[in-house]
Amino acid sequence: MKKIQILGTGCPKCKKLFEVTVQAVKDVAAEADVTKVEDINEILKFGVMMTPALVVDGEVKVVGRVPRPEEIKEMIK
């Protein structure tokens, strides 16, 4: 079961990343759990300064932008 975290303080880009990720997970029927991390201090613990960010199993994959669905699917396989 993959653990996917979306780091973001609640701005539109962060919400979009969350939606796109949830959709990508559905599309490839991956076994994954998608959660949002909104607290700034928690986000900093990942070493992330530019939100939104995508973290898969504790590893930061994308920082500062909303990747294309194909890119996300690649990362969650």
Binding site: P12, I40, I43, L44, G47, M50
Partner: protein, 438 residues
């Protein structure tokens, strides 16, 4: 009935009912204010959306996608040259903070993991003020002088605030977190000069399409005004070539878009009034560009996506801000609900009190992205002095009560209080100086 949950919808319904029940229609001041709000929003739609905001969104979208944030962040990291970091922090807001939502996380990051509280504070102050959309709209609506003053003031005073914060709190500089900064990927798909030219052409199109009519009927300014659409067209053709050559958009798609615009120009003059024709052609060009980029699967597609996200996010807020500004303050030369004398009395002229009041109010008031511009416009038309206007422009976007609470969570009460005080003082001083010299 779960009253704890249901009291909220009930409260909303009752408030709206009371508001509508007692709606003061018929009272001239109220009717006039509503009329002013509608007139103002119409004016914005006609004068600024097509020629100014749409290109601005494309530029902002491009910055979001094509400028390597990673290379800028290098200068703000923990190992960066401290002196250089202040300079970079004070101007990078234009490139890093295109989306206002990134300012607070970036600030937290620079403070805790990067160059420290000094550069972080500099960034926090200047970022919201010099984001590309804010500068473009300020220059366009409040005048070039004000746009430049806002940009220059933000940059200059951000360095001062940053250094002040650093000096005041130097003994407390916490040990940097051992966590390595996660950098955004550095993808340089094309050499820097190509990216720079691409931006240059877009900005040039924005500038020339919006070249204002000067008062004199002679001179360089006037000559350029006469040629502005010719220049804009040539720039647009260049841009089309750039899209094909460097961004790999198929030539036939770009050509169809270009041909449609040319057709409108050649044949439209029979049905479209002469003064509106350039705007229609420009709009057609924008639509063509949108169509061509939105279907692209590569970088151009990302660019359009980023542009569209900005438009979706900002246009509703701006529309709302304009309506409120129009209702409260009215258009230039007219009054809204608030009598102009109140405004002149409070923030007219260039006294220390006026500047301080403007700065203080600006710091606590929340301004959604770009809404400070129509509100400032209304205030200035109602008698606010230029100095206090700049003070509000510098203190307003950077801070608000909600953002102060977030800052408090990041750096604690003492530092937040110091930062807010420094912002208010600097904004007041900038205002007084600007009002005095201009």
């Amino acid at each position: 009935m779960d009253w704890k949950k249901e009291f909220k919808p009930l409260l909303i319904i009752v408030s709206i009912f009371l508001g509508v029940f007692f709606l003061p229609i018929g009272i001239p001041r109220f009717d006039n204010a509503v009329f002013e709000a509608l007139e103002l929003v119409k004016w914005y739609a006609r004068e600024h959306v097509l020629l100014c905001l749409i290109p601005a969104f494309f530029i902002a979208g491009a910055i979001g996608v094509f400028v390597s944030q990673a290379s800028v962040m290098k200068y703000l990291g923990a190992k960066a040259n401290k002196i250089l970091a202040y300079g970079v922090a004070s101007v990078s807001g234009s490139v890093l903070a295109v989306c206002s939502c990134t300012v607070l996380p970036l600030f937290a990051g620079i403070y805790k993991m990067g160059a420290g509280i000094g550069p972080a504070s500099a960034f926090l102050y200047s970022g919201p003020a010099i984001n590309v959309l804010a500068i473009i709209l300020t220059a366009r609506i409040l005048g070039l002088e004000m746009g430049i003053a806002r940009g220059a003031g933000a940059v200059l005073f951000s360095i001062i605030i940053g250094i002040a914060m650093h000096l005041i709190f130097r003994k407390e500089e916490a040990a940097k977190a051992a966590v390595q900064m996660s950098m955004p990927d550095v993808e340089a798909a094309r050499p820097l000069w190509k990216t720079a030219s691409y931006f240059f052409v877009m900005i040039a199109i924005l500038v020339f399409a919006n070249w204002g009519k000067p008062i004199e009927n002679y001179g360089l300014w006037h000559a350029i005004y006469g040629l502005k659409w010719l220049i804009t067209s040539l720039l647009s053709l260049t841009f089309g070539v750039i899209l094909i050559a460097w961004f790999k958009i198929s030539w036939w798609k770009v050509s169809i878009a270009a041909v449609s615009v040319i057709a409108i120009v050649l044949f439209g003059s029979q049905v479209i009034p002469h003064d509106v024709l350039p705007v229609v052609a420009f709009a057609a060009g924008a639509i063509g560009l949108s169509v061509v980029t939105s279907v692209d699967k590569g970088e151009a597609g990302d660019w359009f996506s980023s542009t569209w996200t900005f438009a979706k996010q900002i246009l509703p807020l701006l529309l709302f801000g304009v309506l409120i500004a129009g209702f409260l303050l009215g258009r230039v030369g007219h009054e809204g609900i608030i009598p102009s004398d109140w405004v002149s009395a409070a923030v007219g002229g260039n006294s220390i009190r006026a500047n301080f009041l403007a700065s203080f109010a600006g710091a606590f008031m929340y301004f959604a992205t770009l809404t400070e511009v129509p509100i400032l416009q209304g205030l200035m038309a109602s008698g606010m002095g230029k100095g206090p206007a700049l003070a509000l422009l510098l203190a307003g976007p950077a801070l608000s009560l909600p953002s102060m609470m977030v800052l408090n969570g990041i750096m604690g009460f003492k530092k937040t209080f110091t930062f807010v005080s420094l912002v208010i003082i600097m904004a007041t001083i900038s205002g007084i100086m600007y009002g005095y010299f201009f």
